[in-house]
């Protein structure tokens, strides 16, 4: 009986470990395509004015020319202060040494980065719309957090809002649900690329955390 129990325990453990390894690997592959926490800071809104896609196009063609137009570069460099000059030079050297494969990988990195910025731009829009609609109840306990999961159509219409973590305070939970109800539709979804919508904005989680 004891042996039997041990056998069962061992097989359970082994099953758990295998499941964990499998899920872990699955998770790491999935991690590339999913985003983690974005914290709302109103200042970040300004990020959207930087257009990363243009940057990536401008930067790369310049690079092969750096040797040829060195004279011009120097004259330009004089304008800058010395420290900036040094930084620029060291950067330039590093870039010259890098081969084409490096450049390519860098380009794709920038692309991911630009997608990231696009996501954060839309995320900021969502956040500010909900913040405008949210009537925070008064005299509620400190440190309340309520999480909602929103299902959104490609038109931007919120089709369901589900309370996935209650704050424990009914007025707080309700104010969160009510805020989402008041928003109803994120009208800027019509300019969002379809692929981005499918990937990121079909289902989003929202945390109401005023502290």
């Amino acid at each position: 009986m004891i042996a039997n129990y041990k056998y069962l325990q061992a097989s359970l453990f082994s099953f758990c470990i295998h499941a964990a390894i499998f899920l872990y690997i699955y998770g790491t592959f999935n991690a590339n395509t999913s985003k983690t926490l974005l914290i709302s800071k109103p200042l970040q809104i300004e990020l959207k004015f930087e257009l990363p896609s243009q940057d990536s196009k401008e930067q790369i063609p310049i690079l092969p020319n750096t040797n040829v137009t060195s004279g011009k570069q120097v004259s330009e460099d004089i304008i800058y202060s010395k420290t900036k000059d040094e930084i620029k030079n060291s950067k330039k050297n590093a870039l010259i040494e890098s081969n084409i494969t490096n450049l390519l990988s860098e380009e794709s990195a920038i692309e991911i980065n630009s997608e990231q910025q696009e996501i954060s731009m839309y995320a900021q829009k969502i956040i500010s719309m909900i913040e405008n609609a949210w009537m925070k109840p008064r005299n509620i306990p400190e440190g309340l957090v309520a999480n909602l999961r929103l299902k959104i159509r490609s038109t931007g219409r919120i089709t369901s809002a589900e309370l996935i973590k209650s704050s424990g305070n009914i007025r707080f939970d309700n104010s969160a649900l009510q805020a989402v109800r008041r928003v109803e539709t994120f009208n800027f979804f019509n300019v969002m690329p379809k692929t981005l919508y499918e990937k990121e904005f079909k289902i989003i989680a929202i945390s109401f955390n005023p502290s």
Binding site: N139, A205, F208, N209
Partner: protein
């Protein structure tokens, strides 16, 4: 084995944290909702009365600011569509319109709520009533508006119990147990006595009340049916019995008995009138109230040398009272918030004045919510957003209330003194 589980948990953790986009909302507005209420179409006298009652109901919640009637615009409807832009310019969030339908022996209201930002009707509803119950009709309607905008059940249609004391020319007192609407109107006398009446308490079904009457010379707890007026003493013992409180399932009363010369908390099973002693202490234990789930009771005890609030967990076999108030030298008359997330009680602050205070379980400080000097007997509304309590004004006891959202109000003065309010459950 524990270690193994921990290991699995650690391995699983990163997977669980992946997934959908996660956004955080940190700011919100604390302003009240701005609502324009168009006087309902129909009989102008009825409409005016309805409008007044509803306006007051909504303002008392502290969550609405209602546009002054003089500032209202005509409602423009073109092709069955409300013109929203005018209301948007006035900064309104919602617009309420309605019609009074007076048809053979019934007075109905149909009302509509428009969301000015969404440019859409968000509610269209009908309330059925009878002509001499305009107040009730108005309260139902304001609860509908409140719930539709805030998502929380309104309490305008709930009722209050309180004790009224009047003195005649020879200074002999008459005590009355009164029943009234949540706004203090529509008063009815449930009991009149030449001896004091104290501690009224609602049965959870709202159909019966319990109270203490001194009509036999000592304190006795009575139960009375509201509709029939039928009443009976719950215990025939000679001992003084006081502060009844009904369990949420309506099957038990918690009481204070002075059986052996000392006040202790007992629980009385109403079915067979059996008593269970809950406390055994040389100090006074009294003012018990039940938690909303009925598994705990709060009471006031002097066992530490000053009145403080204690909690008993009824799920335990021999529950030990746990002290839950620590600030100051006087904390009493506690009751739970509906969600059991905190308590409302009377607190004497360091300046010696009595205030109504709130303590959330998750916080380690108290919030003082009133600023008069002799505030007493708080009773919490069933939605947890309002509290009614007793105040002293020019040495006269009166009733006042506040909402957690910030509104403060006084109930219309009755003749004589009014004290010990008790807020009913939801009645529909």
């Amino acid at each position: 084995m524990k270690k193994n589980i921990l290991l699995v948990a650690i391995l699983l953790f990163p997977i669980l944290s992946y997934g959908e986009l996660f956004l955080e909302i940190t700011k919100g507005s604390e302003d009240p909702y701005k609502v324009a209420m168009i006087p309902f179409e129909g009989n102008t006298i009825v409409s005016k009365q309805l409008n007044n009652i509803m306006r007051n109901d909504l303002i008392r919640t502290g969550e609405f600011s209602i546009l002054d009637e003089e500032l209202l615009l005509p409602v423009k409807i073109i092709n069955d569509e409300l013109i929203y832009s005018d209301w948007k310019l006035l900064g309104m969030d919602y617009l309420v319109t309605g019609t009074i339908i007076n048809a053979n022996n019934s007075l109905d209201i149909s009302y509509e709520i428009f969301d000015i930002h969404k440019k859409r009707k968000v509610r269209s509803s009908k309330v059925f009533g009878i002509p001499n119950q305009i107040r009730q009709l108005a309260h139902y309607t304001s609860d509908g508006i409140y719930e539709s905008i805030t998502g929380i059940k309104g309490i305008a249609a709930t009722r209050l119990l309180y004790v009224n004391e009047t003195k005649d020319s020879s200074f002999t007192s008459t005590y009355k147990l009164m029943l009234a609407d949540s706004d203090g109107a529509n008063e009815k006398i449930l009991l009149s006595s030449s001896e004091p009446i104290i501690s009224p308490s609602w049965a959870p079904d709202g159909k019966r009340v319990a109270y203490v009457s001194f009509e036999t010379g000592i304190a006795k707890v009575f139960i009375q049916e509201i509709a029939s007026g039928k009443r009976e003493a719950v215990l025939s013992q000679d001992a003084q019995i006081s502060s009844p409180s009904w369990s949420p399932d309506g099957k038990y009363l918690s009481l204070t008995l002075y059986q052996d010369g000392n006040a202790e908390i007992y629980i009385l099973r109403l079915r067979d009138r059996t008593l269970t002693r809950m406390t055994n202490q040389f100090a006074i234990d009294t003012e018990s109230t039940w938690s909303p789930k009925g598994n705990k009771i709060l009471f006031t005890s002097g066992r530490s040398g000053s009145p403080q609030i204690y909690e008993l967990d009824l799920r335990k076999l021999n529950p030990k009272a746990k002290r839950i108030s620590f600030e100051g030298t006087y904390n009493a008359k506690a009751s739970y918030l509906p969600n059991e997330e905190g308590i409302i009680f009377v607190h004497r602050s360091s300046d010696g004045l009595f205030h109504i205070a709130l303590k959330y379980n998750r916080e380690n400080f108290i919030r003082i919510l009133t600023e008069a000097n002799m505030d007493e007997s708080p009773s919490v509304a069933p939605n947890g957003n309002m509290v009614i309590y007793g105040i002293k004004e020019k040495d006269l006891s009166m009733l006042a209330g506040f909402s957690l959202s910030g509104a403060k109000f006084k109930l219309p003065a009755s003749e004589g003194e009014v004290r010990e309010p008790a807020w009913s459950n939801f009645l529909r």
